[in-house]
Amino acid sequence: MGRISLAWKILTSSEFAARVTGLLDAPPALAPPTPAKPEAPPKHIAPSKPLRSDAVTLLAALQREGRLIDFFKEPIDAYSDAQVGAAVRDIHRDCGSLLERQFAICPVLDQAEGSNVTIGADAKNGRIKLTGKIGDGSQASGTLVHHGWRVAKTDVPVWTGTAEAASIVAPAEVEVR
């Protein structure tokens, strides 16, 4: 049944088919030495707006793996710092490893904070934000206050669900006895 219904779904739902095709074309996260030629998508499928924003998929992953949404939605005023701290350790570990896996976040500039760095074209291309006595913005160097963060990759999971489920960050859980 599952096989037939899925094939049927691909045949009848252009949105679903488009998402399936999107998956087929998704490049591998590590670039192969000889880049594979992506197959041309079938012509009859019109590109459609994704059912769900990647941001929601990321929220769902942060909740699933690190329970981040539970943490932010819970009023914490009544808890001691120790109680909050105990919970944060696990959230820190689990959400941290998720961010590392999906984004590989690393510094924009590798130099140590406090050291002197050259500015160059980086101020114009958004890699550097100048602070302090900017003047006409023509200074050649400055002190690195914050090394910045950038993502080395973006591997947000691909979501293949239905329109009804698009807004679900975490489904309600009901235990059947």
Partner: protein, 593 residues
């Protein structure tokens, strides 16, 4: 089309990995293939490992395609991370450790028996089919990344435990071919693969690190199994060569047992606080314990580690319960449980409770890895010294376990304490990397480990004699494959001819031995101790009636051959006509032959 890549696949008990290297490079550039997989309903993410778990979807889930992957038209099951997460909540819908079942000769591995003891309404798969599904997933991921380089045209090396006997290897091969691997793919033993990973890491320096007569233990402790191999350094035409001298028996104890032991201990601490864990919390605890193990057992680890289990509802902090695990407690539990102090003459304790025993996986009744190790070294070294040790497997990320085992080994050989050789620090991937490097050297040249068969093999021959009521006829074991028989060689087995009935299938009991290393082909063993010979799947051949022969009986002798790919073939040969019949493992489905 010629091969563009060499591919190494580690089909693990708990995780599977695929690595590859383009053949047009100067030297092997081994890369990991990211594997898209369902991580949660309708959510597909690429990960570097494919957990070897298979979840059977409910009819609703199959219908909605929540666990479907783009390349598959079958939405009724899921393999990978999603399946592993679901395994705790739905153990009877999830297949785990299919590979251990593959090596378990007490069950028919073509029968749909997994998930083991699942309810009747749940679709079951055979250990062979489950393994095929994992490989199909890897193959599909490969084809998605490299649509112009079909895997059937690449050089593929697939790893198996050194302790897998001929029938487990044959079953692995069957699953691999069904999954689309090329006919020419090669099986490589995992500890050898780990050694190749080390050779790749040190390059030609190995010739300086090792000398003739050195003996290196490769101790590979994976998630579910422990695999032991002894490699000897020899000399040939003035060149150093590596020779695989011995392999250990199949031990079903590994890192997962340690994490579970710690989790069990910690669960008791929680119970003391009045919290009984539900399955979801147990998984959460299991993962926390893996981290705790690595942190508490690292060299500069903290004295205690807090393990918290969050509440089940949306109140996270309110429902949180924490316990403190002391470094000493964890170390005691794991070291005394899995690495107890042993002497070289110690033997693993055998469980005495025979009689009725549920047939499940034959988990080791003695989890003391040091005692299994002592038994292996005592047999395989035969009084000589051990000079080096190579550790492999995720377990050794915990520094304390590494030093504990090294101390034990050095204590056993006080005159010349063995050195640790360090290769890749990437313990989760080194088997696959080593397999890829081996494939590379096979094509382009480079150091090779020679070994031949890790075991000797025997056919059971019932001897003639007066039948005694209540007693079977005495059984003798005819050696058909000697230990260390090399790939690409064959041998006629000298023996008295055996009469087989034409048109009927002839069955032979079949045995293997990891420790009888001096038996020659044709040797007939009248008796043996249970430690020496393990019975595995029986062999059978059906002799077709020949037109020119009116005889009912055909006198045959045996002929054995190890193919270039390391596959064992046994043949019955008719004495006068030279007609041959191949003996097949009777685990094979009759319908296929």
């Amino acid at each position: 089309m010629t091969a563009q890549f060499v591919i190494g696949i580690d089909l693990g008990t708990t995780n599977s990995v695929l690595v590859y290297s383009a053949l047009n490079e100067e030297s092997p550039q081994v890369l990991l293939l990211p594997i898209p997989q369902v991580v949660a309903a309708s959510t597909i993410e690429s990960r570097s490992m494919l957990p070897s778990f298979l979840y059977q979807c409910t009819p609703d889930e199959s219908e909605s395609g929540a666990f479907a992957l783009s390349w598959s038209d079958d939405a009724s099951f899921a393999t990978g991370h999603g399946a592993r997460s679901l395994s705790a909540e739905f153990p009877d819908r999830t297949i785990a450790a299919a590979k251990s079942w593959l090596g378990h000769s007490k069950v028919d591995r073509h029968e749909p028996i997994l998930p083991w003891q699942a309810a009747r309404e749940i679709t079951k798969l055979s250990p062979v089919t489950a393994s095929q599904r994992y490989l199909e997933h890897l193959v599909a991921a490969w084809h998605q990344a490299f649509p112009d380089a079909p895997i059937s045209q690449q050089n593929v090396v697939l790893t198996v435990p050194a302790s897998f006997d001929a029938s487990a290897r044959e079953l692995t091969r069957e699953a691999a071919l069904a999954a689309g691997l090329p006919e020419t793919f090669v099986l490589l033993e995992e500890p050898q693969a780990a050694t190749y990973a080390w050779l790749n890491a040190v390059g030609d320096r190995w010739r300086k690190l090792l000398k003739v007569g050195d003996r290196m233990l490769v101790c590979d402790i994976g998630g579910g199994t422990t695999d032991l191999t002894l490699v000897e350094v020899a000399e040939e035409d003035g060149e150093l060569t590596l020779q695989r001298a011995a392999v250990g028996n199949h031990l079903l104890v590994g890192g997962d047992n340690m994490d579970l032991a710690l989790a069990h201990f910690v669960a008791q601490l929680f119970e003391a606080k009045g919290l009984t864990l539900d399955p979801w919390q147990s998984v959460s605890l299991w993962h926390s314990c893996r981290n705790a193990k690595e942190s508490l057992l690292s060299e500069s680890g903290p004295d205690s580690h807090t393990i918290s289990v969050p509440g089940r509802g949306s109140r996270l902090i309110g429902g949180l319960v924490s316990v403190n695990v002391e470094r000493g407690q964890a170390a005691d539990l794991l070291l005394s449980g899995f690495f107890p102090d042993a002497t070289l003459t110690d033997r693993p304790a055998r469980s005495r409770t025979s009689g009725f025993r549920e047939i499940g996986l034959p988990y080791e009744s003695d989890t003391g890895i040091t005692r299994h190790l002592a038994s292996f070294l005592n047999q395989s070294l035969a009084g000589t010294n051990l000079t080096h040790v190579l550790f492999n497997g995720g377990v050794f990320k915990a520094q304390a376990l590494r030093s504990r085992l090294l101390n034990q080994l050095q204590g056993w050989f006080p005159d010349s304490p063995p050195d640790i050789v360090d290769g890749s620090d990437d313990l989760d991937f080194s088997v696959a990397r080593g397999a890829c490097f081996y494939g590379w050297t096979k094509l382009k040249g480079g150091v090779r480990i020679r070994g031949g068969t890790a075991r000797s093999y025997y056919i059971g021959i019932e001897t003639a004699g007066l039948a005694i009521p209540g007693a079977g006829r005495p059984l003798k074991a005819l050696c058909v494959v000697p230990h260390g028989m090399e790939e690409g060689t064959e041998v006629d087995i000298p023996s008295d001819p055996i009469g087989l009935i034409v048109g009927e299938s002839a069955r032979f009991r079949f045995f293997s031995s990891a420790n009888r290393r001096d038996d020659r082909p044709g040797e007939l063993l009248p008796r043996w101790s249970p430690d020496e010979l393990n019975e595995t799947d029986s062999l059978e051949a059906t002799l077709s009636a020949t037109d020119d022969s009116e005889e009912d009986y055909v006198p045959v002798t045996f002929h054995s051959r190890i193919t270039e790919l390391g596959i064992l073939e046994l043949w019955c040969v008719h004495e006068s006509t030279d007609k041959r019949w191949k003996l097949e493992f009777s685990v094979r489905d009759d319908a296929e032959s």
